[in-house]
């Protein structure tokens, strides 16, 4: 009874093939220096290393949970590097690669997954909002923020653009459609960046949509494009163009990055219950890092020394992440009452004071050897 029409797969924008070859695209020309190319490679490798380390930390009980970006590095690093400092990004909970580009330190990311914080950084400082766990809620925040940018008169070639990340599953939420519509009606400078990683926990895209997701945009009156999400150059070039489009006052755009979640949904998940390994194998051949490495090698842009250097840096970052994770301080119990309100609130103050007394009573009791 479900819709059996297999989704016809449309053309992807691809600038770097899985074989490491550059392709020209009429709409998305890209002119990239060797140094930039090496930089992207470095980003990809390092962020994967951070991710791998985090998975391990979870296995060791140092993190409560981790949502791995494995396989999605190119989508995230490409789009993240397309952002300018003044731009604002609204992530979901898996955007460790974008966070990396925005200058968030890995330990700041870990703090939420370790349970020592519900956030971890100041969004204004990094131009990167907090992780959003309630699926699609951030799509409206991004749109509203972009409406604020309009009101600030901050558009133009050097203006501000906003980007919002979400998954294939998130497109089903009413909030995402409302965001598309608010953005369209207001012509807001926001780029919707959907990482279609083929899974929303255990559900494949056919349970979320009958036709390719990028087409959703046209129904709301703005352009949508599907890119090879494992191609860091496509992600960079198309996102850069979309941000420029937004920045210059031409309104929203939807980018569907066609990629694949190589790992489990989170460390809690067991994908063997719902997907076959052949699929994984197929996507392994499209690995987002391998193709850049092949390209660098084939073009002679990077030598073994460079690769060794990046690997060494990855190792040391891995170590740092491990150390910094363990060093993350546990919050003080009274932090429960911290910043619930911006303005004084007698009710909360009273609860805090009572709880402080309660805690102290144990210390007293301990001191007296009562308990």
């Amino acid at each position: 009874m479900s819709n059996n029409t297999a989704q016809k797969q449309p053309e992807l924008v691809q600038l770097l093939t899985p074989e490491g070859e550059l392709r020209r695209h009429p709409d998305y020309p890209i002119d990239i220096s060797a140094e930039e190319m090496r930089g992207l490679y470095r980003d990809l490798v390092l962020v994967r290393r951070v991710d791998t380390e985090a998975v391990a930390l979870q296995r060791q009980g140092e993190l409560g949970l981790w949502a791995s970006l494995l396989g999605q590095e190119a989508a995230q690093i490409g789009s993240g590097r397309a952002l300018r400092p003044g731009d604002m990004a609204f992530p979901s909970y898996r955007e460790h690669g974008v966070a990396w580009c925005r200058g968030i330190r890995p330990r700041q990311l870990l703090s939420m997954f370790r349970g020592v914080s519900n956030g971890g950084w100041d969004p204004h400082e990094y131009g990167f909002h907090l992780y959003s766990i309630v699926i699609a809620s951030q799509t409206l925040h991004a749109t509203g923020y972009a409406m604020g940018v309009q009101r600030d008169g901050a558009l133009g070639a050097d203006g501000t653009a906003v980007i919002c990340y979400f998954g294939d599953g998130a497109t089903s939420q009413g909030d995402t459609s409302e965001a598309f519509n608010f953005a369209a009606v207001n012509n807001a400078p926001v780029v919707f960046f959907c990482q279609n990683n083929q899974w929303a926990i255990s559900e494949p895209p056919e349970r979320q949509a009958r036709v390719p997701l990028y087409r959703r945009a046209a129904g709301f009156g703005f352009p949508g494009v599907r890119i090879d999400g494992n191609d860091v150059l496509a992600s960079l070039a198309v996102t850069r163009a979309a941000l420029q489009h937004a920045r210059e006052g031409q309104g929203p755009m939807l980018i569907e990055a066609f990629t694949y979640r190589m790992g489990a949904h989170t460390t809690n998940d067991d994908p063997s219950r719902y997907r076959v390994s052949a699929e994984l194998e197929e996507w392994r051949s499209k690995d987002p890092i391998e193709r850049v490495r092949t390209h660098l090698t084939n073009e002679g842009i990077a030598d073994d020394a460079f690769f060794a250097e990046v690997d060494a840096e990855a190792e040391s970052i891995g170590e740092r992440v491990r150390r910094e994770c363990r060093e993350l301080p546990d919050p003080d119990p009274l932090d429960i009452f911290h910043e619930v309100y911006a303005e004084p609130n007698g009710h909360i103050d009273r609860q805090r004071a009572d709880f402080a007394d309660y805690l102290a009573s144990f210390e007293d009791a301990d001191a007296e050897g009562v308990r």
Binding site: S117, N118, G119, W121, D122, P123, H124, E125, H129, L130, V134, S137, T139, L140, H141, A142, T143, G144, Y145, A146, M147, G148, V149, Q150, R151, D152, G174, D175, E178, A179, N181, F182, V185, H338, E339, V340, Y341, A342, E343, N345, G346, H347, I348
Partner: protein, 326 residues
């Protein structure tokens, strides 16, 4: 200099003054523009402040609150109108999981000074979903401030205080009292108004405390007047979260009796919390259990039944009587 204003016009004047004094203040919602809202609370604001500051939004409450959060993150102070109480619920997710919590989530890095204006309560002969009193859902949600007004003076000042607050504030407007008038000194300083979180003794008395808020304050005052046997103190609660327990307990310790009246269904209404808390803090002072008067625990009925559904003067008096049978 005082002006005689209805509650509706006082909110309008308060909004205008807030918009004049802070260019970051925006008004947004369904039909708030040219129409001035279905209750005309935003009347003329569109004309005077333009479409960028008075935003007719698409018909989507989640979108309204969600984009308001985004605007707030960008430094704006959006005042959102929810057209009627019963149409808040599509925005529940953005309000309860985002608006209320984002500050704490960010450990204070992020401030979302959004005001939700919600005309609420019954008694206007409307069809379903236009007469509800959903305030308890909000009061139960940490991170929100919840206030309501019973007269034009509070309407004028408290809407400005709500906008000035760095916390998200849910501002409940007693729609059936929109046309009640009072003299308002619109030239005074905002700082001179009583703080938004305080309750107000609306009528002093000795024998029992009658607590009400929003549209029921008028009924409570009428009941106090009508009860010639007892000297009833009436408290206008004003702030439902946080609650000004100092004012309430001071009164109850004096009178020994507390009756709470609200339009919302009794069960799990705001009165339940106040009753439980006051009973705990005033246990030895209470001559009678706290008596609650409210609507029945049923959906709001068809309008031809609302006079029976809503607590009216007689039901409030009946509640007061019950408090004296103990």
């Amino acid at each position: 200099m005082t002006t005689n204003l209805t509650i509706g016009k006082a909110i309008n004047a308060g909004l205008r003054r807030a918009m004049e004094s802070d260019p970051k203040v925006l008004v947004m919602g369904e039909d708030v523009g040219k129409l001035g809202g279905v209750f005309r609370i935003t009347d003329q604001l569109y004309k005077d402040f333009g479409a960028d500051r008075v935003i007719d939004t698409p018909l989507a409450e989640s979108g309204i609150i969600g984009t308001a959060i985004g605007l707030a993150l960008r430094g704006y102070r959006p005042v959102c109108e929810i057209q009627f109480d019963g149409f808040f619920f599509p925005a529940a997710n953005q309000t309860f999981t985002q608006l209320a919590k984002v500050r704490r989530r960010s450990a204070g890095a992020v401030t979302v000074p959004v005001v939700l204006r919600i005309p609420y309560g019954g008694g206007i002969g409307a069809v379903e979903h236009h007469s509800e009193s959903p305030e308890a859902y909000f009061a139960h949600t940490a991170g929100l401030r919840v206030v309501t007004v019973a007269n034009a003076v509070d309407a004028y000042w408290m809407i400005q205080q709500a906008i000035a607050s760095d916390d998200p504030v849910v501002f409940f407007e007693p729609k059936r009292r929109y046309y009640d008038k009072a003299d308002v000194d619109t030239t005074a300083d905002l700082g001179s108004a009583a703080p938004m979180h305080t309750a107000r003794v609306a009528r002093p008395g000795q024998d029992a405390t009658l607590l009400a808020y929003g549209p029921m304050v008028k009924t409570a005052l009428q009941a106090a007047q009508a009860d010639t046997e007892h000297d009833i103190e009436v408290i206008d609660l004003r702030s439902l979260a946080p609650v000004d327990y100092d004012t309430i307990t001071e009164s109850v310790r004096r009178t020994g009796r507390l009756v709470i009246a609200h339009e919302a269904p009794v069960s799990h209404g705001v009165g339940a919390e106040i009753a439980a808390r006051v009973t705990e803090s005033c246990f030895y002072h209470l001559e009678a259990p706290v008596i609650r008067v409210g609507a029945f625990d049923t959906p709001y009925p068809q309008s031809r039944l609302e006079e029976h559904y809503l607590p009216d003067l007689d039901r409030v008096l009946d509640g007061v009587d019950r408090a004296f049978t103990f």
